[in-house]
């Protein structure tokens, strides 16, 4: 059984959601890094990676999260991981890198945080 990884690029109000689907291995991590860099170069400063459909993240994927996160911080923006699956969350925690990342429950949480209170 071979899984295919693909990225859906969706612009929301004030931020961009990249919905990832599939196993985030070495090749997929390269694609993700290039996509994120394209969005950053396009001026996006809030990037949400929706990981609801990502059951597996390899070390290269973790490295991509850290790299994009550091890039966004330098540019005054932020990267947010949403919908992180339990196994992926375990890996982030075991590697003790979740403390460097912004992890939220889902994309709506980001939208709520960015919407001014009325």
């Amino acid at each position: 059984m071979s899984e295919t990884f693909f990225i859906t690029d969706g612009a929301q109000d004030g931020f961009t959601v990249l919905s990832l689907t599939g196993r985030l291995g070495a090749d997929a991590a390269t694609d993700l890094r290039e996509t994120c860099m394209d969005r950053i170069e396009a001026g996006e400063r809030t990037l949400v990676l929706d990981l609801r459909a990502v059951p597996f993240v390899a070390s290269s994927g973790l490295g991509t999260f850290l790299y994009v996160n550091e890039m966004m911080k330098e540019l005054g923006g932020r990267m947010v991981l949403a919908g992180v699956q339990p196994l992926v969350q375990d890996v982030l925690s075991l590697m003790n890198i979740d403390r460097f990342l912004n992890i939220v429950e889902d994309v709506d949480q980001v939208r709520r945080e960015l919407t001014p209170a009325t």
């Binding site: 899984e3 291995g25 597996f56 290269s60 991509t64 996160n69 196994l87 003790n96």
Partner: protein
């Protein structure tokens, strides 16, 4: 000296003209024939003449006796007999006497009338002729031949006797005249015969002089002037045969000259070709390249070179031109010049092959193509990067592990198909050369060498076996071993193809592998004592096996395999984490151990926790690439933002985090073996379960 003696003897020897010899021989035969025939004819003539004369003499006597019978009965017989006898004597002067006697023996008829009536006295010395047809009527003496016939009456009464004498001298005169005539005719015949024979011989043997002159011309080296002898005898046929022989000699001579010229050119071409290839070891740092070229029976199209490149690198090139002889040699020389001109411009072997293909495209004759392999060795990093254009596989011997890796070409031959298509087929491949490792470049003259007798090819397996035993031998002995093996394989048959070999590597014997063994946790020594593939097979008996190929998508393949195993001892979370650890290790092997080699493979064995095996609950991974133990890289310091920004080195850390025990060893003749005991219910550093 001997030659001069022979020439001198040849000059001294008398030569007899064939026409003269034949003419004299024929003349002698004619003389003998004429003399013989003349003698026989003369004897025969003499006898015939004698018989004729005797017969006529007897007949004459009988005739006279017949006409004298009546006369003797007359009263005066002399009156009729005397004139008759006188007339006979006048008509026949050769007769010595003619007499007619009466019964008393008195002369009644005689040319001399005075003899009438006298008793006839016979000449003395007359004797009968023995064996004569006229026996009784004929007597002879040395001077006379006398025929005597009785004169008889009709009633049988004897009346007298007629005697006719002929001088023998007359017969001798007649015989003499006949002999003279015969001799005259014989002499004329003799002269005619001799001259005729001489003329005939001269005419008949005239072609001999033409033949002699023609053969003398051939002897002097003139093979182009034919004799053109128009003769219908055997001599004419002989002349034609000699003309044909001269033509054939001329053709053979032309062929021989052409062959000598070609041989000379071949020798020259061979010298040029050999001069293109290095005859010594080319060293570069701790590495070296050394080649061997053994030509076939004719000039072949093989070529190799080893040279220093900018940046203290070493270049190795080998090519095999399809097509032998001068054509192949010319292409080889052209290729050597192109490589020399372009090698410093390209850091990528694939790019150099692409450039060569562009150069050769359209320059080669139909059916001619070139296979080639080019490699660049970085001695500092021990990396050999190479690209191949349909050349024989590069064999990489790792004697320490007892393995020989094969790298097949994916490129097409140079100069044979459109350049754009060819260019896309050339790719660089990088391999690591450790201590004792040897990379062998060769042409098909090695593996396709036919065995004497049945023609079986030497084959790649035998080459690999020799390389596998080559630990620490150095380049020269390995090359000699390969050459000796192929030469022995071929026996006494001449080489049908060039034998071209080129070894690249770091000479040295590896009796002990680098210290790469790592043991973490309480693993102890579970696999460190493995000595052979057989022992590994024994150890893995009963375990579930999976072979992962670099092309098959390693991590996904492992995930599917593990889900299928469904080991009850591991929960879904633990299985996921183990899958991640194994994927990280295998990816490291493919990336760093095999340097991305497409055909690389890794073996996995899973020992179910429910089994009674010493490794129950463990996973074992074996590869044959470069040693890369999981603990060889430091755990990245993620507190450092620069480290986080690089985002590298997390794989090693993941493996160590996700495994409870780990034993990694590089084993002789087996490869790298990593035994992993997965962590069960592993928790965060704060010992707090993250999820339930």
């Amino acid at each position: 000296m001997d030659q001069q003696t022979q020439d001198h003897g040849k000059q001294q020897r008398r030569v007899f003209s064939l026409s003269w010899v034949f003419s004299l021989a024929v003349a002698a035969l004619v003389v003998a024939a004429v003399i013989g025939v003349g003698s026989v004819a003369q004897q025969h003539l003499r006898n015939s003449l004698h018989r004729e004369v005797e017969t006529r003499l007897v007949l004459e006597a009988r005739n006279l006796a017949h006409v004298s019978a009546d006369a003797l009965l007359d009263e005066f017989p002399e009156l009729s007999l005397m004139p008759m006898v006188q007339q006979i004597q006048e008509d026949r002067p050769e007769l010595a006497f003619v007499v007619v006697l009466d019964h008393e023996g008195r002369i009644q008829g005689h040319a001399d009338p005075r003899q009438f009536g006298q008793v006839f006295v016979e000449p003395a010395g007359l004797a009968s002729v023995a064996g004569s047809a006229h026996d009784g009527n004929l007597r002879t003496s040395p001077d006379l031949i006398v025929a005597s016939v009785a004169v008889q009456h009709r009633d049988g009464q004897e009346l007298g006797m007629v005697l006719v004498g002929l001088r023998r001298s007359y017969v001798d005169d007649v015989v003499s005249r006949s002999r003279k005539a015969l001799m005259m005719v014989s002499a004329i015949l003799l002269v005619v015969g001799v001259f005729g024979a001489g003329a005939l011989m001269h005419v008949m043997l005239r072609p001999v002089s033409v033949l002699k002159a023609g053969i003398a011309r051939i002897g002097q080296g003139d093979l182009e002037t034919p004799m053109n002898l128009q003769d219908r005898t055997e001599l004419g046929m002989l002349a034609e045969t000699v003309d044909e022989m001269a033509a054939r000699i001329k053709a053979s001579q032309t062929l021989m000259l052409e062959k000598n010229r070609l041989d000379h050119e071949m020798d020259l071409a061979h010298s040029i070709q050999v001069s293109l290839m290095p005859d010594r070891q080319i060293a570069c740092g701790r590495f070296a390249a050394e080649g061997l070229y053994q030509a076939a029976s004719e000039v072949g199209g093989d070529y190799f070179d080893a040279f220093e490149l900018p940046g203290d690198k070493l270049g190795v090139f080998m090519a095999d031109v399809a097509g032998k002889g001068l054509g192949g040699c010319l292409v080889t020389s052209m290729l050597a010049a192109l490589v020399k001109a372009r090698r410093d411009r390209y850091d990528s072997p694939a790019e150099l092959l692409t450039a060569l293909d562009r150069d050769l495209n359209g320059s080669l004759s139909p059916g001619v193509f070139v296979t080639a392999i080019y490699g660049i060795l970085d001695p500092d990093r021990g990396r050999l990067t190479f690209a191949s254009a349909a050349h024989c596989p590069l064999l990489l011997a790792r004697p320490a592990m007892g393995v020989v890796e094969e790298y097949r070409s994916e490129g097409v031959p140079l100069g044979i198909i459109p350049h754009a298509i060819a260019a896309s087929s050339y790719h660089d491949t990088t391999v690591l050369l450790g201590p004792g490792d040897l990379a062998l470049l060769y042409t098909d003259g090695l593996t396709e060498a036919p065995r004497c007798g049945d023609g079986e090819e030497f084959g790649q397996a035998r080459v690999e076996e020799i390389l596998r035993r080559a630990n620490g031998q150095g380049h020269g002995p390995v090359l000699e071993s390969l050459q000796a093996a192929v030469t022995g394989w071929q026996g006494h048959e001449s080489r049908f193809d060039d034998l071209t070999l080129l070894l690249v590597g770091c000479p040295g014997h590896v009796s002990k592998l680098p210290e790469t063994s790592q043991v973490s946790g309480n693993a102890g020594n579970l696999i460190g004592d493995l000595k052979s593939e057989d022992e590994l097979t024994q150890l893995t008996e009963g375990a579930m096996h999976l072979q992962v190929s670099a092309r098959s998508g390693g991590s996904e393949q492992i995930g599917d395999w593990m889900k299928a195993l469904m080991d009850a001892s591991l929960g879904e979370r633990d299985l996921g984490l183990l899958e991640l650890a194994l994927s990280e290790h295998i990816n490291n092997v493919f990336e760093h151990g095999y340097l991305g080699r497409p055909g690389a493979e890794v073996d996995l064995w899973w020992y179910p926790a429910t089994s009674e095996h010493a490794l129950a609950g463990w996973v074992m991974v074996r590869d044959r690439g470069r040693s890369c133990p999981p603990a060889s890289v430091e755990v990245p310091d993620l507190e450092n933002s620069d480290v986080r920004k690089r985002g590298r080195g997390l794989g090693w850390a993941l493996i160590r985090t996700l495994t409870e025990q780990l034993e990694y060893r590089t084993l002789l003749n087996i490869g790298n073996v990593c035994a992993i005991k997965p962590a069960v219910d592993v928790r965060t550093p704060e010992e707090e379960p993250l999820h339930v």
